[in-house]
């Protein structure tokens, strides 16, 4: 046998730990990390119904929860899947999602984490929150809201906005789900027109969609089981998500933000006992014997020992935490960076995209707290250059940014920081902006280019 079925209760006692050969025999199935994806759609696009459908079909909905839904629907009525994702009392009162909620389900292939982003227009900040850290974005397109006879077919502003925000935040995979095809007269023709418009839009926006899937969340067509849409023979939405590749760990020179200093290593005969510098490798890989430079001190040392959660290792790649013991005693603190020597050029001045999340508007010249990697430092907006039209990402001249605005700014920091372009490095290229008076998270900076300081 090639796999161990977890379902067979009589096989349960045969279950062995995850490293058992049985799990590795089937080379056709590469192990994949859990996929975190956000769902973006506007009110009534059927987003809650889609999530409810995924949870229901994957049996993440259990009998007591289903009974509650049936009771609400009343005898004989179809259950309202959107009720499954209703969370807080306040939002039940308002009838809209007001915050990012996380949902979980799993298939035999993969574990999924849904970041349920709100649809209401004023909540761009939640869309940004959900997109940051997601592996994929599923953008819902409500086919019933489109004028299918128009030439050319015009996409809704929110469809463009959701996709463009996902692209701006470098979500690795963007998928369009064309929904409510059960509600149009000729689903095949309707899908073909919408698909062509989406494909053309993506070309102009500069990204390649990971898929465009025709679905009916209400009926379950092409969500987890194939539905009949004339002219579409691609995978279901779920099959597509199962097969999305893990994001390739950033290649390039090694870079580690020091997160925590603890433990005592150095048993490997380096002549002294030394603290272990823990950090998640942001880029490249770290191996025993590598020479690393400490930022900001500039001192260099070689990696004498590497630790992982389960013991000593020779190499740790991007995305995993490494415990680094250097071959000589250096003054290293949380917030410092360990990097391949000469691989970064620190600056105090950069141009960035700023997503503003706070109800207090951004103030030019005011000092804010910034978090870059594991370091807190101060900085200020030197100038606001433009505000982006979130429906098109076109820049319009502007000198103020309010809540839910996204703009281009010139930024200055009090100390040099080893930044990178966000497009190249999502760790070294991102900074958090925190209001020093309220401690609220006010904005997110995505570095566009370093300026010589």
């Amino acid at each position: 046998m090639s796999t161990v079925s977890l379902l067979a209760t009589d096989a349960a006692s045969d279950l062995v730990c995850a490293s058992a050969p049985a799990a590795n025999d089937d080379s056709s199935r590469a192990a994949k990390k859990p996929l975190r994806f956000l769902t973006a759609g506007s009110v009534d696009d059927g987003k809650s119904t889609l999530i409810g459908r995924l949870l229901l079909d994957s049996r993440a909905i259990l009998a007591d929860q289903l009974d509650a839904l049936k009771a609400k629907a009343g005898g004989g009525q179809p259950i309202d899947l959107s009720l499954l994702t209703d969370g807080l009392e306040a939002e039940r009162e308002q009838g809209i999602t007001i915050d990012v909620a996380y949902r979980y389900f799993a298939t035999r292939e993969r574990k999924f984490i849904i970041a349920d982003a709100p649809g209401h227009e004023q909540y761009t900040r939640n869309m940004v929150t959900a997109a940051a850290g997601s592996d994929a974005a599923v953008v819902l397109v409500d086919v019933t809201k489109l004028d299918l006879g128009a030439k050319p077919l015009v996409l809704l502003p929110q469809t463009r906005r959701h996709a463009l925000l996902a692209q701006l935040l470098r979500v690795p995979h963007i998928v369009f789900a064309v929904n409510k095809l059960d509600a149009v007269a000729d689903p095949g023709a309707a899908f073909a027109r919408v698909r062509d418009a989406l494909a053309e839009f993506a070309v102009h926006a500069g990204f390649a969609p990971a898929g465009i899937v025709p679905i009916s969340a209400l009926r379950g067509d092409n969500v987890s089981r194939a539905g009949n849409i004339e002219g579409y023979d691609g995978p279901t939405l779920l099959a597509l998500l199962e097969q999305l590749p893990d994001e390739v760990a950033a290649v390039g020179t090694s870079l580690v933000p020091v997160q925590y200093i603890g433990g005592v290593g150095g048993e490997a005969g380096i002549g002294h006992r030394s603290r272990v510098l823990w950090g998640r490798v942001a880029r490249g890989a770290v191996a025993v014997g590598d020479t690393l430079a400490v930022f900001p001190s500039g001192e260099q040392a070689r990696v004498a020992e590497l630790h992982a959660a389960d013991g000593r290792v020779e190499r740790v790649a991007a995305g995993r935490s490494a415990g680094i013991v250097l071959d000589r005693q250096l003054d290293v603190s949380r917030g410092d960076w360990l990097a391949a020597p000469g691989s970064h050029a620190p600056t105090t001045s950069f141009r960035a995209t700023l997503a503003w999340l706070d109800t207090e508007p951004a103030i030019v010249g005011r000092r804010y707290w910034l978090r870059h990697g594991n370091r807190w430092l101060q900085g200020r907006i030197a100038a606001i250059e433009s505000r982006l039209d979130v429906d098109t990402l076109a820049a319009h001249e502007a000198h103020a940014l309010g809540v839910n605005d996204i703009g281009e700014v010139l930024f200055e920091t009090q100390q040099p920081v080893p930044i990178e372009r966000f497009a190249d490095d999502r760790v070294a290229g991102a900074l958090l902006v925190v209001d020093p008076a309220t401690n609220r998270t006010s904005g997110a900076l995505l570095v566009r280019e370093a300026l010589s300081s």
Binding site: L6, L15, S58, Y102, G262, R371
Partner: protein
Amino acid sequence: MNAPTPIDRLLLPEFDVAQLDALEEEAIFILRETAAAFERPALLFSGGKDSCVVLHLAQKAFKLAGAPEARLPFPLLHVDTGHNFPEVIEFRDRIVAELGEQLIVAHLEDSMARGTVRLASPDESRNGHQSVTLMEAVDAHRFDVLIGGARRDEEKARAKERILSHRDSFGQWQPKNQRPELWTLFNTRLKPGEHMRSFPISNWTELDVWLYLQRERIALPSLYYSHPREVVRRRGLLVPMTAVTSPAPGETIETVDVRFRTVGDMTCTCPVESLAANAAEVVGETISVTVSERGATRMDDRTSDASMERRKKEGYF
């Protein structure tokens, strides 16, 4: 070996090392972040399975394999309602002694003696009052972050919880005023009197927890596995008969093979019928389970769809 049973492809994952490793990496990252960013953390440890997982992850995060240090960089904290199952308290004390950790126990009965907790009646569930004792312990020890084993999949109100969740000086959660959490750039800044909750296993499900307990061979209190117990059947639940629970008129006590899916206050935590004698067998059952963890086992969560959210606003974990 048994032949694989043909099953619906939508039924839950093959045991996949990449999934658990990713969850472990995330949890350990959050634990180190919490220890580094705050001055006085405490790890909430009740002996329940989720807190056992977090304690195990903390051992991995802070003690080098093969060269364990004396202690974690923070103490353990337990709010004891006085209505805990004796097996769980015995287990708690044994594990703490084995690991050499420091345990602080905050007693709800001390809050009752102080008058800060008053029960409406002697047999009222003490669960809802734990938040008072917890906040008193936070004040007494000046903790600025509490690490807990809450998971987002447990209940609808928890689905929107942050990994690092900000609480005001009354310990209250403000669901509409949460800090956006972007990438792993956690906003750890606090004002005096405020504190945080840190949830390293936010993204784990009940099944993930059992798979991990099995893989890592983590010890649990005996009542998580099948054992005969005196219960009565009440509104679809098996109510355990203990020192503080008794049958209502007309109910008959019977002895049933049961296990607990959660452990909490004896007055409101119910077991399920089960013959699962080890973690692997619980995994098998968890996959075919049809009733949610809280729905099956918590009497107090049944009273209102929003009961968890309400208690959370009041500072309950």
